[in-house]
């Protein structure tokens, strides 16, 4: 679809409405975060970010995010392929099941893993004997993050793959192409934007996840505190400014990802033009 320069009143109106909506619902809260973060000046802001616990929390958050995005990308591609390229019984059911993590309150999502791996679980004695720490340790945090983010990529891919139908893939298959070749040569070029969107949503959500991780983390400073949990702790000890300063890091991270996306988009476009 080619974008056009808006040229009449109605088109400008639509843009204006969208901009106002984003301004009120999104930009103002972000400005607020920024103004609170800098309320006591740059020095306090930088000090809050330089704290060793904040850095460790940032590292843990990145770790969980990368793990979640990797796993979910593989899963998202496989499940979207499954849901759109084949017919099988109970598709609506399985498809709804995929959305379920969105419907589960994050707190309950965390609770699921506590029930499964915690002291009340039948497998707990075994885990303890083998010194396997899942909840209140890094693996639990990764599991919780994966859980709350895993539908994103599938959800982004399914509508577009559905809209494109199967004819191209079927044609390729009849000509004897392998599944991997079909995916790489036929499907992927068609779905790459949806995939990128999905990965970005998944990354953003994984960075900010709070509720589920908070239940399985144990809140040990410097070990199992992710950035959002660190923010909560700062807030709870009446350190408003530092809490918002650390929150602004998450916003900046999200912005960095967006810049990366734009870069990829730009390179891809240029490549296309050169190819032509």
């Amino acid at each position: 679809m080619v974008a056009v320069k808006p040229h009449n009143f109605r088109q400008w109106g639509l843009i204006g409405l969208a901009a106002v909506f984003l301004l009120v619902m999104l930009v103002l809260p972000l400005i607020l975060v920024a103004s609170e973060a800098l309320a006591k000046g740059w020095q306090v802001y930088l000090d809050a970010l330089n704290e060793p616990f904040a850095r460790k929390a940032l590292f843990l958050t990145l770790e969980a995010t990368v793990a979640a995005v990797l796993g979910n990308t593989v899963f998202g591609l496989a499940s979207a392929w499954l849901l759109t390229k084949y017919d099988f019984r109970g598709k609506a059911f399985w498809s709804s099941l995929l959305d379920l993590p969105f419907a589960i309150s994050p707190v309950v999502a965390g609770l699921l893993f506590v029930i499964l791996f915690g002291r009340m679980s039948p497998i707990y004695p075994f885990l303890r004997a083998e010194h396997i720490a899942i909840i209140f340790a890094v693996p639990g945090i990764i599991l919780a993050t994966v859980f709350v983010t895993f539908p994103f990529i599938t959800r982004e891919l399914v509508p577009i793959m559905e809209a494109q139908g199967r004819s191209e893939e079927e044609a390729a298959a009849t000509m004897g192409a392998s599944g991997w070749t079909i995916f790489r040569r036929v499907t992927l070029p068609n779905i790459k934007w949806a995939l990128i969107y999905g990965v970005i949503l998944c990354t953003a959500r994984a960075l900010g996840e709070f509720g589920a991780v908070s239940v399985v983390s144990g809140h040990i400073r410097g070990k199992t505190n992710t950035l959002p949990l660190h923010i909560e702790i700062l807030y709870n000890e009446y350190n408003f400014t530092a809490a918002f300063a650390v929150a602004s890091i998450l916003v900046i991270l999200a912005v960095v990802i967006l810049i990366l996306r734009n870069l990829v988009e730009w390179r891809a476009k240029r490549g296309l033009r050169n190819g032509n």
Binding site: S95, L112, A173, T174, L250
Partner: protein
């Protein structure tokens, strides 16, 4: 999972099916089964007593209603955003586009605090709304606002890729045949967007129903007025009554699942009808 036809022309069915169900079992089904078994341990009588309590009932009502309102708002504005971003070129478009994902990256608690600060009686926006007699914080409206914020990216991001890939020739043909803009939109474009729109709507709705972190700050949490179901889950946990918490969570989950199932079923139905 048995197929009812031999139409699996495209290779990779076993492979994608394997990955999907392995991952799904590991992350979702096993924890969920443990959770349901755990809840079952409480017995019917207690289960019913917990979930049918009048106050709990009222909390479901508030949660579902506010989530529905938020999903509708997100549906309308999400479509608008996607449209504006795909169709028009204007200054600052990249920025607008990038902003949409930020609600995910911001930890829900930070979002809640920021929104409450904005919409409280002495807030930047709250002061005007309160002057107009609209209590924008500590009211169902406040809850809805928080849910709009956390669910904002869903609709826009589902619609965007589909809109982007829409074939411009169909529209041009419609225009050549003399159809006006509105008619073209309604008859040619909109039907293509129903599927992603419904996806986005249901995700935004489901997210709203389960949302806790951001809503508690702006809700005020007064019983029968602004008490949401996830808060009651927390209250039960705080009394160390895991089973009662699990019971409320389970009901909430089933309600959301039912809604997702209806929407997904309807989408399948549409796809099949189009296929014929």
């Amino acid at each position: 999972m048995k197929s009812f036809s031999n139409k699996k022309v495209i290779p990779g069915y076993r492979f994608t099916c394997g990955i999907t169900f392995f991952y799904l079992s590991l992350i979702l089904l096993i924890p969920l089964a443990a959770f349901v078994l755990y809840t079952a341990g409480m017995g019917w009588e207690k289960f019913l007593a917990v979930v049918l309590d009048y106050r709990v009932f009222h909390a479901y009502y508030i949660s579902l209603l506010t989530a529905l309102a938020a999903a509708v708002i997100n549906g309308v504005f999400g479509l608008l955003l996607a449209w504006v971003l795909v169709r028009y070129d204007f200054f600052g478009k990249r920025l607008l586009d990038g902003l949409i994902d930020l609600p995910f990256a911001l930890p829900t608690a930070v979002a809640g605090i920021a929104l409450t600060t904005l919409y409280a009686e002495n807030g930047w926006l709250g002061q005007y709304l309160y002057a107009l007699g609209i209590p924008s914080a500590f009211s169902p409206l406040g809850i809805t606002l928080a849910m709009v914020f956390v669910g904002l990216p869903f609709v826009a991001r589902s619609v965007q890729p589909v809109l982007r890939d829409l074939d411009p020739q169909v529209e041009e043909a419609a225009a050549l045949l003399g159809a006006g803009d509105w008619l073209t939109f309604r008859r040619v474009i909109f039907p293509e967007l129903v599927s992603p729109l419904l996806t986005g709507f249901s995700l935004s709705f489901a997210r709203g129903v389960g949302e806790y972190g951001s809503v508690v700050f702006i809700a005020g949490n007064l019983p029968y007025e602004t008490e949401i179901a996830p808060l009651l889950i927390m209250a039960k946990l705080e009394q160390f009554d895991y089973q009662a918490a699990a019971a409320i969570a389970l009901v909430l989950l089933l309600l959301s699942f039912a809604i997702l199932l209806v929407i997904n079923g309807y989408q399948r139905y549409r796809v099949q009808k189009q296929g014929v």
